[in-house]
Amino acid sequence: MKGSTTNDRDTITTFSAMATIVGLWWIVSFFYPPIIVPSPVETVEKAYQLAVEGQLTKELAITVQRALIGFSFSLISGSLLGCFIGSYEKLYQFFKPMVTFLQTVPPISWILLAIIWMGFGSGAPIFVVIIATFPIFFFNAVQGVRHLPEHLLEMGRTFQVHRLRMIKDLYLPSLWPFISSAITICLGNSWKTIVMAELLSSNSGVGAALSMARLQLETAEVFAWTMVIVLLGLITEHVFQWFDDRTRVGKVRKWKSGI
């Protein structure tokens, strides 16, 4: 009953937050020439122009597709491996340095290998997104596994509850806060990383467009692409949050009271 009102209020808050960001940007833009900080209006105009020319949707579609492939792959493999490896201390001790390794090698160093292995298509950017998000899913899943509610697991095992049911009703809800936190972080990370990877290694996508605009000192266009990516980030984050709040664990946030 009250749901919709609360939701409306949330939307208002979010919009006022975005208004604040735009306001700050506007103020900053007064102090710099457009080639350094274009104003929001110039940026939106440029974005509109890109949209009308069709470039916006074209590059965006490519980038979104790549990011989602990389993100989904990391989500699934990172979480699963994290859960599995995190349950065996020895295995974890063995794999932890490897994942830290993935995380610490600068993307620049991965790009070349990615290009050689996968060419100039979508391979390299997807690969870099995976490298950037996989460790986050992995480590969060490990933390989740380590904080599984042992007393509930014992209960389920004693009652010989079927394995699948255990996973669905016990493991997943317990892991969810950790996975959900990783998703929030990685959604943001994916967009950022894909742009950087495309910028360095690809001929298409938002990153490549951004790189071109940058080389041509089209700062307004750089900002327009950035704005597109930020909006994408905010929207996906919001959609996910909406979904998260609707999960059982999200709804029963009170379960934290540890009963």
């Binding site: 014992e154 004693t158 009652f159 010989q160 509850v161 049911r165 016990l170 009170k254 009963i259």
Partner: protein
């Protein structure tokens, strides 16, 4: 069910050492004993949650149901879903719901089916745990202080429910309680634990059928006095004396 030469220690604290008892199948066995003696530990070993370091537990079935000392409910599931959680997946959904609902009504939670654990009072949570344990028809039923947090009337109702379930399909019941009355009301065999490592301080069989007990108070009074005495002893006897007693018991067995 037989427990043979069981040895179990937490760190260097021996809880059980070469411990053996026999728990008759299809009967209700009550375990009494002071707090921290090792009752829950034994139950968890029977359930398979803890592994003994030595010895074995011979069970005729692995179909176990357990009322834990804490309710252990899934916080993200409603009352009825918590009960359904332990019902077999093979059972179809509608049937599961009907059975779970029926059992919840029997423990007096018919009006709280769709509430979450954090919306319940302590006693209500305990009753969900009871309903969950009773809803499957297990061959071994382990109860760790099932009546805690319940008022006299509810206690009586749940006890009646336990007896009626037991009479219908005769599971092996191991029932931990602190209340001598509870034990006297339903037990076929009462075991009192004491000491560290655990010793069986007394082992009493009550041959009176459950139904007839309330009508023969004097007969039960004898058991009551005996048990109270034993309980008193259990907290007073120091460890070395316990060992002496054990020796003597063994000698007597030999003889």
């Amino acid at each position: 069910m037989e427990i043979r030469n069981l040895t179990f220690a937490y760190g260097d604290k021996d809880i059980f050492k070469d411990f053996s008892i026999y728990i008759p199948e299809g009967e209700i066995t009550c375990i009494l004993g002071s707090s921290g003696v090792g009752k829950t530990t034994l139950l968890q070993m029977i359930a398979g949650i803890k592994k003994p370091q030595f010895g074995e537990i011979i069970k005729n079935s692995n179909q176990v149901s357990y009322i834990f000392q804490e309710p252990r409910l899934l916080p993200w599931k409603t009352v009825i879903e918590n009960v359904e959680f332990v019902l077999l997946d093979k059972m179809d959904k509608g049937k599961r719901r009907v059975i779970a609902k029926e059992m919840l009504e029997r423990v007096g939670l018919g009006d709280s089916l769709h509430r979450f654990p954090h919306e319940l009072s302590g006693g209500m949570r305990q009753r969900v745990s009871i309903a969950r344990a009773f809803v499957i028809k297990p061959e071994i039923l382990l109860l760790d202080e099932p009546l805690q947090g319940l008022d006299v009337i509810k206690r009586q109702e749940i006890q009646d429910l336990l007896v009626s379930l037991w009479e219908t399909y005769k599971p092996t019941v191991v029932y931990i309680t602190h209340d001598v009355e509870d034990a006297l009301a339903v037990a076929y065999q009462i075991i009192v634990f004491a000491g560290q490592p655990v010793n069986v301080l007394c082992h009493t069989f009550i041959d009176q059928p459950i139904k007839e007990r309330s009508s023969s108070p004097t007969y039960m009074d004898a058991f009551r006095t005996h048990l109270m005495l034993q309980m008193k002893k259990s907290t007073e006897i120091p460890f070395d004396k316990m060992m002496q007693m054990k020796m003597m018991q063994q000698k007597m067995k030999m003889a």
